[in-house]
Amino acid sequence: MDCREAQVQILAAQRGQLRPEQQGGLHAHLDTCALCSRVDAEEQVLTEILERRLPQYPASIALKRRLAARWPAALPPRRSWRRHWGPFLVPVFVAAAVLLVALPVYVERTNLAGTDETASMVSEAVNDYLRLVSSQHPLEIASGGLHQVKPWFAGRLDFAPVVSFEGDQEFPLRGGSVGYFLDRKAAVFVYGRRLHTVALFVFRADGLSWPTRDLGAMGSARASANVNRGFNVLLWRVGELGYALVSDLDVRELRELGARLASGT
């Protein structure tokens, strides 16, 4: 198998669509070809960002109504009230009974869906944190104090990050950079705690599914505490801005910093 053949098959392989012998041939090639193995990794990342961030353009309600009006459901002839509703009374009672049973299940599922979306935000926060700490240049502006870091964001973001904690002896502010959180830009403030790095991501909160359950008081805000791959993540929202505080610190210490940050937001 040459590289061209291999690269045509990579996407199908990632989706498990190749026959076993094709899969074997491709893996044998990837094991020995650094270039194709790199393309394999690039394809995975491309799939991930397309599935998660590609803007979707659903049809407007007006268009849906216009088209639906062209194909109306067949209307039954007019009948008296009793004749009209009589046949439906039993099904309506049955439906009401089913609803009584199904509603709690639906509510539970809705909550689970919300939990999934929160998990996605938490996972994104940890990924962003890992990218930051593994970067060779994690800080675009080294700190000479918050008064130096905050103005640096002007012109680089389409919002003003509201953060007033300047850092202290326990949690010194190391600097900042512009990063990304899901599909939007984020202001990244980096604090230290002994040898640990703590990252605060501040971003526009709109359009995200924020956790509403199990929120704990933290300064003047109410935050959701989460653990992902051993990292602690605190999520909270104040007005139009969202905050994600991430670190490998234990959650108690992270909450201490969170409280200092939240009291000024």
């Binding site: 690269q7 199908a12 650094a34 393309v39 990794a41 690039e42 353009y57 088209l67 062209r70 990304y180």
Partner: protein
Amino acid sequence: MGKGGGTEAGDRLGREALAYIDALHNLARYLTGSLPDAEDLVQETYTRALQAAEQFTPGTNLKAWLFRILRNTFVDQYRRHRNDPTVGGLDTVDPVAQGAAHEVWLRGDIDIDRLRNVVAEDIDKALMRLSEEARTVILLDLEGQTETEVAEILGCAVGTVKSRLARARAVLRHRLQDYAR
């Protein structure tokens, strides 16, 4: 005869087809690059689907059938606007893309960390810079259409779809790297 002027089969099909309106509109937006044009294209697609309802075989893939009508409608309109169907053709929507496909093919030199950093608007822009053909194959694939279905929609061989998709995604990866900060 339904209100839409079609037959009973047309009306039934139309109602079923409405379930796919969001997917069709999404593809139409990426084909035309504008929301008003996308609306017009979707309306025209449904009109043509209604007229051709008798040709649809119940039990076959309605979504793929609608995608094919939408794409053919777009091609017809595009050619009408171009006035001269023999010049260029659709692949020249972005002439650079075709050349770029050959350049990026087999390179594998993307900075993956940068690629991860692209945001939604960058993906939109990068996709719109691809040729119509490349955009279509990527979007149909994302919509979950199989290679066989994409081949039917585009009117080409399955093998062609495989190589077009791989090339289109290679060009997109490179385009996205231009946007990543």
